[in-house]
């Protein structure tokens, strides 16, 4: 899922300082799991904005905020509330915010969140990053553990010289991913996979902005 974190209120207030009334949109998917775009987060945001003298004309949790057409349909029943707002505050990820930008062509749209990474949830609202969406997955050769993401340098050919007592040079609290990969391949009797020199990645496969048409004819 996409991990998001609410911006500090002061930063949001500065961004919205030219508007006085808002309609709030959350998202029932990732942002709800992160607690940044569920009903409770919207209610809390409404309260905090009102304390600062702003007006909130309404709000709702979109089913999938990044789904442009679906969100547009869901919004229909809130027409009066959003029409009476000067601007929108989106409480989901950057993709959800930009879906709203596409829908609300004549109103300012602000995001309440910083979008952080594609994450795994390990405990309630505890997330870590295991995939960087690089477009060329190599984990079939690395015991199913991604070094592109789990190594700060994204090394493809083993640990760097900074690995110490199995820990990462950059964060001494974290295990070096290449030691984890080594141990896993050792357990699976596939250490031979670590002897091959991995080719440089083809960054041409992930030229921003990406697009994909997955529709079958």
């Amino acid at each position: 899922m996409i991990i998001s974190k609410q911006k500090p209120l002061e930063e949001l207030l500065d961004a919205i300082k030219n508007n006085n009334s808002f309609f709030l949109v959350g998202c029932s998917e990732c942002a709800s799991l992160c607690g940044t775009g569920d009903d409770a987060a919207i209610a809390e945001m409404k309260k905090r904005l009102e304390e600062k003298g702003k007006k909130v004309t309404g709000g709702f949790v979109a089913k999938t905020g990044c789904q442009v057409l679906g969100t547009k349909v869901e919004l229909k029943k809130f027409k009066e509330a959003f029409d009476s707002a000067e601007a929108l505050i989106i409480m989901s990820c950057g993709a959800g915010t930009q879906a709203a930008v596409e829908i609300f062509k004549d109103k300012p749209v602000y995001t309440a969140n910083d979008t952080l990474f594609l994450g795994n949830m390990t405990r309630f609202r505890v997330f870590d990053e295991r995939c960087s969406l690089c477009g060329e997955c190599i984990i079939n050769k690395t015991g199913g553990i991604c070094p592109v993401t789990n190594c700060p340098k994204g090394l493809l050919n083993g640990p760097c010289g900074g690995m110490n007592n199995g820990k990462c040079e950059v964060d001494r609290e974290k295990d070096c991913v290449w030691v984890r990969i080594y141990n896993r391949l050792n357990d699976l009797h596939r250490l031979d996979q670590m002897e091959e020199i991995a080719e440089p990645k083809d960054y041409g496969k992930h030229t921003k902005p990406s697009a994909l048409t997955g529709k079958k004819d």
Partner: protein, 291 residues
């Protein structure tokens, strides 16, 4: 000046030292140290934004060392350059007359003084060695023909004191396979451990220069342990520096360096002295080591 490669191929015990480019354009001190080492080392490494601290470019320093009559080793990290910049700097080094290149991944940017910099790591050390060999054979990374190939002598690093050692040895074998001809190791403090590493290294046709990081005080050793990736000074050496007292700590540090060189002299192919700010002490270390 091809002293390094010639001596290496002749099987001499090699001595190299590190030359840290300054932060700023005042080169007086660095050039003075380089001059003092003239005739005492086979080659001088110019470090590349060492510990991710921004300094004069290693390529520029290599050219100055070459003009002085030294045989420079161009340290090249993947941290600050993508594949275009790496290749163009290797071609640049060749046309300036530089012939040795040490292929490094590089410390992470947060180790240094520009913590917000974008880390590049487009390719990494083992792949960079392959690139050098490709350029030597007249082709760039994309397979395009070069108009004039390079003649660079590629080296790499290895950390014999890494724990666990197995993943590090796998990487070492990859670097050998990728074409490394010599290795300048990370700091060696445990000679017994180094003997074990050399047993593995001797299976391959590469030369190994033991890395000697000079210690000047117990405080410096502790600082290294906390801040310098890849180096761990053992407690017994920290105790030895402490016991020497403030005034004699530096001399004790030089003794430790000289003692290590003597101990590794018969088991590897050379010593690479990283004096980190004490470059002026390198001749004294060599004297005490009997070289």
């Amino acid at each position: 000046m091809r002293k390094f490669r010639e001596a290496l191929e002749a099987g001499e015990f090699l001595v190299t030292a590190e030359c840290g480019p300054p932060k700023g354009t005042d080169l007086k001190e660095m050039l003075k140290h380089a001059k003092e080492l003239f005739g005492k080392v086979h080659a001088l490494n110019a470090t590349d934004n060492q510990s991710s601290v921004m300094r004069v470019s290693s390529l520029a320093i290599c050219k100055l060392l070459l003009d002085m009559g030294h045989d420079p080793i161009f340290q090249l990290t993947c941290r600050d350059r993508n594949r275009l910049a790496l290749q163009s700097d290797i071609l640049g080094a060749h046309v300036l007359g530089i012939r040795n290149v040490l292929c490094l991944t590089g410390d992470y940017v947060t180790a240094g003084d520009h913590k917000g910099a974008k880390p590049v790591f487009d390719i990494e050390s083992a792949q960079l060695l392959q690139v050098v060999n490709s350029l030597n054979n007249g082709k760039d990374m994309a397979g395009n023909e070069l108009k004039g190939s390079t003649d660079m002598f590629p080296g790499a690093t290895v950390t014999p004191e890494a724990k666990p050692i197995e993943p590090q040895l796998m990487k070492f074998r990859k670097k050998v396979k990728a074409g490394a001809r010599f290795f300048q190791t990370q700091a060696i403090y445990d000679v017994e451990n180094f003997k074990g590493f050399m047993k593995e290294a001797r299976k391959y046709n590469v030369k190994i220069l033991a890395g000697i990081v000079v210690l000047k005080s117990a405080g410096m050793a502790t600082f290294i342990n906390n801040n310098v990736p890849g180096i761990t000074v053992p407690q017994n050496l920290i105790d030895e520096l402490k016991a020497a007292g403030k005034e004699k700590a530096l001399s004790a540090g030089l003794d430790i360096a000289a003692r290590t060189i003597r101990a590794v002299r018969d088991i590897c192919d050379g010593a690479h002295i990283m004096a980190i700010g004490m470059e002026d002490k390198v001749p004294e270390i060599l004297k005490r080591a009997g070289i």
